[in-house]
Subunit: 219 residues, 2 copies
DNA sequence: ACTGCGGCTAACCATTCGGTCAATGGCAAC
DNA sequence: GTTGCCATTGACCGAATGGTTAGCCGCAGT
């Protein structure tokens, strides 16, 4: 079939086994993402991966194991590398950067996000460890927001007087709302720059944006 | 559709057929709600409704038809009766009332909301008419918000200077975010009063709430 | 008494599901 | 060349799926 497995002797062997395993995972990821777990059959995965169904069961003992493998692979890029660039920014810029990163991530990983959402929506008990990881990520993000808002309030440059926890929760909710709006309504629903501006106005009152490195809107 | 033509004789005739149909719908609703469409089998519905599987197919031609029937029944209470009480309130109170109604509805109909969410998440093409209805409801709600914010801005009692459409979209997103937070995190996540206060502060600046007493924000 | 029909069911059907198994080709080691 | 392992496959399995069919039961109309 269409596989182009060119051996490049000098570098790592990259066995055919790994190749097929990879393609199975890739196909499964796609199918699970926009059809869900129960609606995706192993035969479909096999067909999409150009591989026999039996081979899937050779790589992964059960359907659940394949599923968990997909989940783990999806979770990999979910860690937003943030700390390094944040050091040079003031709090307001950090907050705005966080918001922007969240939305950009959602926009660029829509199918994965959709996947997790669908998964968490009804199969709460399957893949418990995974949910835990996602939750951890989530609350980490929230903690960063809380801290930033706290600092910003202490410095008195914040127009908002609500408790930081509530404010962060509200902001996070707004972001999540944008997320689901993006998933359900058309792809044009998410507008990171607009959202950042809105958050700025909400937190710091009506004023010019802090860091206007004005890039043209991409979408 | 949705006709409720109950003949009011002296006593309700209430044929056995209607009874069984009702119980099937009830069982199906419950199963669909927390297991999804594909994960729910007709045999399960039958067992849960204490009825033979064939009877289900006597009432409803296919599984999809049963599903749509359930959807329609779920959609009935979704129309927030709002206009009548709104007349007596000023714009700010109306906005706050809208927000509160949204959150209360979500809290009280969590399983239905979860159901619709899951449904819209992956099976976009199934039950297209339903999605249409939900969308209609949704954009109606949004339109009300837009109009209210517009008026409030014209009256100059609004601290926010963003375009009403953007503001409404942002507010709706925040509400949706609270929604999914409620669905995923514990039931304690939703706090209508706190949210209303927050929205008030966002739109009208830091001041005493218009109609409600200050409630301590819960975590 | 019989007929017709709405409500209901057990048994059945074809298909698909997750999963198994015996068998095979390729290839490195001996 | 043979051995042995890795990767891979088509054919197969029992269970469960959505859906059908033939027929039962009670009862109103005649």
């Amino acid at each position: 079939m269409g596989v182009s497995q060119i051996k490049v002797g000098i570098t790592e062997p990259r066995t055919a086994s790994q190749d097929s395993r990879d393609e199975i995972l890739k196909a499964a990821m796609q199918l699970f993402a926009n059809r869900g777990f129960h609606e995706t059959s192993m035969s479909e995965v096999a067909r999409e991966a150009h591989v026999s169904k039996a081979l899937i069961f050779w790589h992964f003992k059960t359907k659940e194991e394949l599923f968990v493998a997909v989940l783990n692979r999806l979770l990999e890029p979910y860690f937003i590398d943030f700390a390094e660039e944040a050091a040079a920014m003031d709090e307001r810029q950090q907050i705005e950067k966080l918001v922007e990163a969240y939305l950009l991530f959602v926009r660029d990983n829509a199918s994965s996000v959709r996947f997790f959402l669908a998964q968490m929506l009804h199969d709460q008990r399957l893949s418990e460890g995974l949910n835990e990881q996602v939750l951890k990520l989530y609350s980490g993000y929230r903690a960063m927001l809380v801290e930033l808002i706290t600092r910003v309030q202490q410095k008195n440059i914040c127009a908002l007087r609500t408790a930081p926890e509530s404010a962060a929760a509200f902001l996070l909710s707004a972001l999540n709302g944008l997320l689901i709006e993006y998933l359900f309504m058309g792809a044009n629903a998410i507008d990171p720059e607009g959202a950042v501006a809105m958050v700025g106005e909400w937190l710091f009152g009506p004023s010019g944006t802090s860091s206007s490195e004005g890039g043209a809107p991409s979408a």
